[in-house]
């Protein structure tokens, strides 16, 4: 599949995509290939620190994120798939840009210059502003007739220090609409899924998750579409409704529409099986 027109981008999958959300990882790689982007995994990347390091120990959180930043080769952007990881890496990048003492400490430790110009991009960036007619030309399967609600979770929110970063509001709707699907409006698009409280306060998260999925059903959706693997897991694991509707990764749906056929291993990993729906909509056989 390699060709000279492919653009190389360094790729940080993060712990979730490397393990529990492999279907997100695989479909993202396929999707990027269709878009002419070759993802090269960041060599020996480590956990971004996640929420836990951020809560318990800021020094370790910065150590962990900084190691990834120093590992990233210069000259090409660093693509991050997980909204939590990208927040940690961008915050660390900003902190090192602003704090000379810390920057110097890490430069000494890793024996190389801090790359202040490193672009840390979400995969939305690859789609944002892209000529959709080109995308349309590549469309192999139309998403016609698929009604979905976009679920961004907390990925549209961020601390004040990063307020100037792009927010990509409406991007999933725009792209999927151009491929034939129909977005529905609903009130829970940016309601947080609860992240780690899913483990420590399951009752509270079950209430929240049920409210989100019921909201999608009431809106008349066939499925939810999310761009966060953590959200995906919580929506699947903590929903106690009798007949929940499936949640699809944005990358899965986009790959399907772009004609990727290697999806055997994706949908079988969902706790709420999306295959009956996808078959009904003639998206898979």
């Amino acid at each position: 599949m390699q060709n000279s027109n492919m653009m190389d981008i360094t790729y940080f999958p993060g712990c979730s995509l490397a393990t529990t959300a492999k279907e997100n990882n695989l479909s993202l790689i396929e999707m990027c290939r269709k878009l002419g982007v070759n993802l090269i995994e960041l060599t020996d990347w480590n956990c971004c620190g996640s929420s836990s390091a951020d809560v318990v120990d800021h020094e370790i959180a910065l150590d962990l994120a900084a190691r990834n930043l120093f590992l990233a080769p210069t000259g090409r952007p660093l693509l991050v798939a997980c909204p939590n990881c990208i927040l940690r890496l961008r915050q660390a990048h900003l902190e090192l840009k602003q704090n000379e003492i810390k920057r110097y400490k890490y430069e000494k430790k890793w024996g190389k210059k801090f790359n202040a110009k490193l672009q840390i991009i979400h995969f939305f960036e690859l789609l944002d502003g892209k000529d959709l007619s080109i995308l349309n030309k590549n469309v192999a399967t139309s998403l016609q007739g698929l009604k979905f609600v976009p679920y961004y979770g907390c990925m549209l929110s961020r601390p004040n220090t990063l307020k100037h970063e792009k927010k990509y509001v409406g991007l999933m709707e725009k792209i999927l609409t151009s491929l034939g699907a129909e977005p529905l409006s609903w009130p829970f698009a940016s309601r947080c899924c609860g992240t780690f409280l899913s483990v420590t306060k399951p009752d509270i998260i079950t209430t929240i998750v049920n409210r989100i999925i019921s909201g999608a059903i009431e809106a008349g959706a066939d499925c939810l579409v999310t761009a966060c693997s953590m959200c995906h897991l919580n929506l699947e694991v903590r929903c106690s409704l009798k007949s929940p509707i499936p949640t699809l990764h944005f990358s899965e749906l986009l790959s399907l529409a772009l004609g990727v056929r290697k999806h055997e291993d994706w949908f079988s990993r969902h706790l709420v099986d999306p295959r009956p729906l996808l078959k009904k909509k003639a998206l898979i056989r």
Partner: protein, 188 residues
């Protein structure tokens, strides 16, 4: 020296010192908060909190160290930033709650949500061991701590059959880098 006014004076000084520490470590000026409660209205988890987010800020503004460090809200906050984006003054509220958690850990006092802290420690433990998180191990160790093997058995089995819980962790090769981070720290 031990007159009532001297005692109050001492209390005020300690309170100010605490507020200053939170401000410096969080990098956030919480004094611009005028308690419009946008954060409290937006927070998806306020029902699980003993103090609403703006109330936590109030505790810090008033220098009420013990109350701020011992409240449950600082642990319940997941850092989703829903509050920050709604705050008209751009106060980074999760930076404050996370800073309070860290000060509470260092103070070794009462933690209102020991289970949440335990969970975070188990996540960090797997990072310490493998450089990446290992969900199965985090869950098993957390369940061991809770002595609760049954509540999530169904979910666990489902995840297992769907291959969502990996038996073996994904690992970093240069583990010395990672071990090094944890060497100097006492919070792990």
């Amino acid at each position: 020296m031990n007159t009532p006014s001297a005692k109050i004076e001492k209390k005020i000084q300690l309170g100010s010192k605490f507020a200053r520490e939170v401000k410096e470590r969080s990098g956030t000026d919480f004094n611009s908060c005028y308690h419009c409660q946008s954060c409290a209205c937006g927070c998806p988890f306020s029902e699980a909190m003993d103090f609403l987010p703006n109330r936590v800020i109030r505790l810090v503004q008033l220098g009420l160290k013990e109350e701020a460090l011992q409240c449950s809200s600082i642990w319940v906050c997941v850092g989703c930033n829903t509050c920050s984006i709604q705050c008209p003054n751009g106060v980074d509220i999760s930076a404050i709650t996370h800073t309070l958690c860290q000060i509470a850990i260092e103070a070794k006092g009462t933690v209102a949500e020991p289970d949440i802290l335990k969970f975070h420690r188990e996540v960090l433990n797997t990072i310490h061991r493998y450089g990446r998180t290992h969900k199965l191990e985090v869950m098993l160790r957390y369940k061991l701590h809770k002595r609760d093997w049954f509540s999530d058995m169904g979910v666990g089995m489902k995840m297992f059959t769907k291959r969502k819980l990996e038996l073996l962790p994904s690992r970093v090769q240069h583990m010395n880098d990672i071990k090094d981070f944890f060497k100097q720290r006492k919070t792990g």
